[in-house]
């Protein structure tokens, strides 16, 4: 079992979101070594982890689980260009996506289809996307099962999109600076 990294700045979170993150992390600790991004500066106080760190971790053959429950309310549906660029990039880099419930899962699946992240190869292996997009209702045990199975996607299928989305996100961020 490889190291699992939960993407999310939960040490900057409060209330429910911090609770979810802690509960899930401690559950996962029971069966796998959970490593938190070492470069604290990259993530502290941000809604999303920095793409550079994210990419480094993903290239390091680690599975990333994107927990959209940790995002600020409204962040998921924000259609502004900069938010969308970062959100798309996060989705591109995540091996698994964990969301609040069935409604949010439907929303994310629609987004993944439009982004081109659901390929015939991926769909053929997992026609319900059960190991790719999970809901919190299913609990950590469902996630554990998914993490034990093969990775939902392969780099070669995702690389062109990742380069495009990454370049776009960096351009927008550069422009804003």
């Amino acid at each position: 079992m490889r190291v699992v990294l939960f993407v999310g700045p939960w040490w900057g979170l409060e209330g429910d979101r911090a609770g979810w993150a802690k509960a899930l992390t401690s559950e996962l600790m029971a069966y796998a070594q959970v490593e938190i991004g070492r470069d604290g500066k990259d993530v502290l106080g941000k809604v999303v982890i920095s793409p550079a760190l994210n990419l480094r971790l993903a290239l390091g053959a680690r599975r990333t689980v994107l927990d959209t429950r940790l995002w600020e309310p409204g962040w998921l549906t924000d259609a502004s260009r900069d938010r969308r660029a970062w959100r798309d990039l996060q989705l591109c880099l995540a091996h698994h996506v964990l969301c609040r419930g069935p409604g949010e899962r439907d929303y994310i699946i629609g987004a993944l289809f439009a982004l081109g992240l659901i390929t015939p190869q991926l769909y053929r292996r997992d026609p319900l996307l059960a190991s790719y997009v999970l809901t919190a209702e299913e609990g950590p045990s469902a996630l554990q099962g998914s993490l034990r199975g093969p990775s939902p996607w392969q780099w070669r299928h995702r690389l062109p999109l990742l380069l495009r989305k990454g370049a776009l996100a960096l351009l927008i961020s550069g422009h804003q600076r």
């Binding site: 409604g103 629609g110 289809f113 015939p120």
Partner: protein, 448 residues
């Protein structure tokens, strides 16, 4: 002055109709009734105005015989399941409602997996995905048929940087009560006795259905008793011959032969049953059955065939997983069984057929629930849109087209590549040649 509303159906409207044609037909009926000031045109590959219930106020256009462009140019609002690519430039001046009554990403992914292999599969998927995204990018309003689909389309739109109204307009049920005009099965069809219990599989058998579980269940039942019969109504979809007569249907036929059920327990109605003759079959049946695989297509689907079963008051035995199966279980309209479990299916069939009081309770529940499914109620969001929306006074900003441009390019490029790969005529080149020929004729002084 009334506005012009054009409904474009990809399926025929007439005696032989599948879901897209049925939807467009009832849409025209309801809009003609509720928007008496407006001019409604119904365009389909073939439209037969003789079909019972065709509204006199609605103009018909068969676009395999007549050009669609003039009608589209005249329209103020276009309602299309999918807007033909050649009409895209018109959306600057028109309002477009895209009626995506399935989660087409999931449905077309299933089709892609079953129809193609290797690079062709990948290209076909890219083409289909771009085509759906193009429709979403062009639409002023998106219609879908359940809340699951709605959420997924909102998600897809958000990832494209778009915010548009997405409304649920469920597939409705026919307005007139079902009337049986003649006996077609019991005591008429060789092999089906007047005392037999009949199960109906109404509709085609595309790749995502699971007739094998049904056949295995029938085999189990046939070993115990001989009075349970099943009829598959319809094989080849009207004007989409490749849909329906596929791998799954052929394997069902083969399985029926191998299990010794063909012609004794299981009967196939090849072709498609006319829309007005469907009640003759439904009203002779004890229950409707439909089983399917459990995947994303099923999860998002709305099995439109169930609406005819609700209309006829038939209890339904189906597979769990989709929106209507949840409703069937919740409201006691039939029995939903786990996917691929033929033993559970056989038990459900026997339970339903042997328990008259259960069947009667289910019929009462259906009576109660089906009130919600009248076309007038389900199409209310569309009626409100057509009634209240302001039409663009002048051609809209180019941004309307610009936001669709990447998807249009993506679609045309992947389509051309796929066509080249299969050695087919490239559609884009064909159009360019056609335009060039016309221009040439015009320059030579001939009439186009």
């Amino acid at each position: 002055m009334g506005r012009h509303i054009l409904i474009i159906s990809p399926g025929d409207v007439g005696r032989y109709m599948s879901a897209p044609g049925i939807r467009a037909f009832h849409m025209a009926q309801v809009l003609a009734q509720r928007l008496p000031q407006d001019h409604i045109t119904l365009a389909a590959p073939r439209v037969d105005v003789q079909v019972p219930g065709f509204p006199a106020r609605v103009s018909a256009l068969s676009y395999t015989a007549e050009p669609l462009l003039p009608a589209a140019q005249e329209a103020d609002i276009i309602i299309a399941n999918f807007l033909p690519v050649r009409l895209i430039p018109l959306v600057r001046e028109k309002l477009l409602v895209v009626d995506l009554f399935a989660q087409y990403f999931a449905e077309w992914m299933e089709l892609t997996l079953h129809e193609h292999q290797g690079l062709g599969r990948h290209l076909s998927w890219l083409e289909r995905r771009a085509y759906i995204a193009l429709q979403l990018a062009l639409a002023d309003m998106v219609m879908c048929s359940n809340e699951r689909q709605r959420q997924s389309y909102i998600g897809a739109l958000a990832s494209m940087g778009l915010r548009k109204p997405v409304v649920v307009a469920l597939h409705g049920i026919r307005p007139d009560p079902p009337v049986k005009r003649r006996a077609v099965l019991k005591g008429v069809r060789p092999g089906i006795a007047p005392t037999d219990k009949v199960l109906i599989w109404n509709g085609g058998t595309t790749d995502w259905y699971d007739p094998d579980s049904f056949l295995l269940a029938l085999h189990t039942i046939a070993q115990r008793r001989g009075d349970v019969k099943a009829v598959f109504l319809g094989a080849t979809y009207p004007n989409v011959p490749r849909l329906g007569w596929g791998k799954r249907f052929r394997s069902a036929l083969e399985a029926a032969h191998q299990l010794g059920l063909y012609g004794a327990t299981v009967f196939f109605q090849f072709g498609w049953v006319p829309y007005d003759e469907v009640p003759d079959y439904l009203l002779e049946a004890e229950a409707g059955v439909c089983t399917y695989m459990y995947h994303l297509e099923t999860y998002y689907s709305l099995r439109t065939r169930f609406m005819d079963l609700f209309w006829a008051g038939l209890p339904i035995i189906c597979t769990r997983g989709d929106f209507l199966a949840d409703l069937i279980e919740r409201e006691g309209l039939g029995i939903a069984v786990p996917p691929g479990n033929h033993k559970a299916l056989a038990e459900a069939i026997l339970r339903l057929l042997d328990d008259d009081s259960l069947r009667s309770r289910m019929r009462q529940n259906i009576q109660r629930v089906r009130e919600r499914f009248s076309w007038e109620k389900t199409l209310e969001p569309l009626i409100q849109f057509c009634r209240n929306v302001s039409l663009p006074k002048r051609p809209r900003n180019r941004r309307v087209l610009l936001r669709a441009l990447p998807w249009a390019v993506n679609y045309l490029a992947t389509r051309s590549l796929r066509e080249m790969l299969r050695g087919e005529e490239v559609w884009v080149l064909h159009r360019v040649r056609r335009v060039a020929t016309r221009l040439g004729r015009l320059l030579e002084g001939e009439r186009p």
